[in-house]
Symmetry: C2
Subunit: 226 residues, 2 copies
DNA sequence: AGACATCGGAGGTCTGACCATTAGCCTTGA
DNA sequence: TCAAGGCTAATGGTCAGACCTCCGATGTCT
């Protein structure tokens, strides 16, 4: 089904962009609406596109995060996989931090600093803190300027989030998290890739140890999907 | 589209199982063939199912080794992503080799050695060599005993394979590849995780340099899918 | 026994109609 | 004037049946 390629080539897709309606788009591509719809279903399954009945079809993000779904299968089957997940993050995230230190634009550095500040202000609210946490990691991966790494990391982060939902966040760790994040960002801003990598490792190891010490509290069997 | 769920619930899927033909299946589910096909496309996009024109539709392994497809989109859009891919492999594969050195069972070590031998025998046939190459990497990831890492690496390897198809393999590099592989496997067998990591890095860097020196020879715009 | 021709059955596509849902406009009433 | 509710056009969702293309197995010929 190279009509997928056609779709991509034709409508130079930008995130958020709305696609032409199916009738027109099918005409423009020289295929039937039925075939077009099959292609759209595939894109939708990959989370590249979102279809809203009665409204339209929109480009979501070009980075398919869908990897998370099948990975979640592993988690469901094997509970010990949580530690496997951390092991992988201990591999990829320090590397991403190092790359970010080398490649981040000044705008990206600013965004990182802003995120840290916002995190400090949200210190009281555990839920918000979690959100800032994942956004910070995301910003770092963005600053690494590697689309593949970013896609992989996004999947892992999604997994990590689904784990977080199962665990009760211990608020007393908030100051620790923030100070570790600060270390990472400072190293990146200083363009010190080695320090950034080290700081990220420290952060992940500490979080993992916390998890080991206070294992999941929620019901592990009923993790909702969609 | 919960018909997806219907599909899964109805035909209790076992890997390799062949689905009823679309006409019958649509009837049995009480939907039209068009709708059924859209659902199948979604499943196919997630690599849960494989459709073969003129033959039938089969349940692919539920083990999610797959997921390469969405990443391939990135490659399709951004050709420079090939180097991003190598960058990520330079991060994950040495780590996997190190883990393998620590955790491989004796059976897995034997399998690694066998693969090396088989690779040497296939030295003449470039195509076979490629196959042994990817199998060796796969074995290493297996020996790392980390399901998440394995799934991620499998996706990346799938990507790497699709790149290989676009490039003409330079046979004169066969001896180099084999000797580098041997170094990696020897380090793993010696339980020397650091050496394994280093050897793997050397291998990947060399391959990447080759790629840079002799870029894709095939027509880059018409890479067939499926 | 092997190579080739044939044919049934599978997925791939097309057409054109109708149904279901949404967003936005427009009327209505306070 | 403004808010609540209903109408309407646009859009995706589904359907039906036809035809094309491709694969695999069967059977035939050499």
């Amino acid at each position: 089904m190279n009509l997928l390629r056609k779709l991509i080539a034709q409508g130079d897709l930008r995130p958020g962009q709305r696609l032409p309606n199916e009738h027109d788009l099918a005409n423009r591509l020289g295929i039937s609406r039925a075939s077009l719809r099959e292609g759209i279903r595939a894109l939708a399954a990959m989370n590249i596109v979102v279809v809203r009945h009665g409204d339209g079809t929109y480009v979501s993000s070009l980075e398919p995060e869908l990897l998370a779904e099948p990975l979640q299968l592993i988690l469901a089957i094997e509970d010990s996989a949580v530690f496997s997940l951390f092991e992988v993050r201990r591999i990829t995230e320090p590397a991403a931090a190092a790359l970010a230190a080398e490649r981040a634009t000044t705008e990206e550095l600013d965004a990182l600093r802003d995120e840290i500040k916002a995190g400090i202000e949200a210190q009281g609210d555990a839920l918000k803190l979690v959100e800032h946490d994942s956004r910070l990691h995301q910003l770092i991966h963005l600053a690494a300027h590697n689309p593949i790494l970013r896609s992989v990391s996004a999947s892992l982060a999604g997994l990590a989030n689904s784990v977080r939902k199962r665990t009760v966040r211990l608020p007393r760790n908030a100051p620790l998290t923030i100070s570790e994040h600060t270390d990472v960002v400072e190293a990146i801003c200083a363009r010190d890739s080695e320090a950034a990598s080290r700081a990220m490792t420290v952060h992940l190891v500490r979080v993992e140890n916390d998890l080991r010490a206070y294992p999941a509290a929620g019901s592990p069997n009923e993790a909702e999907t969609e």
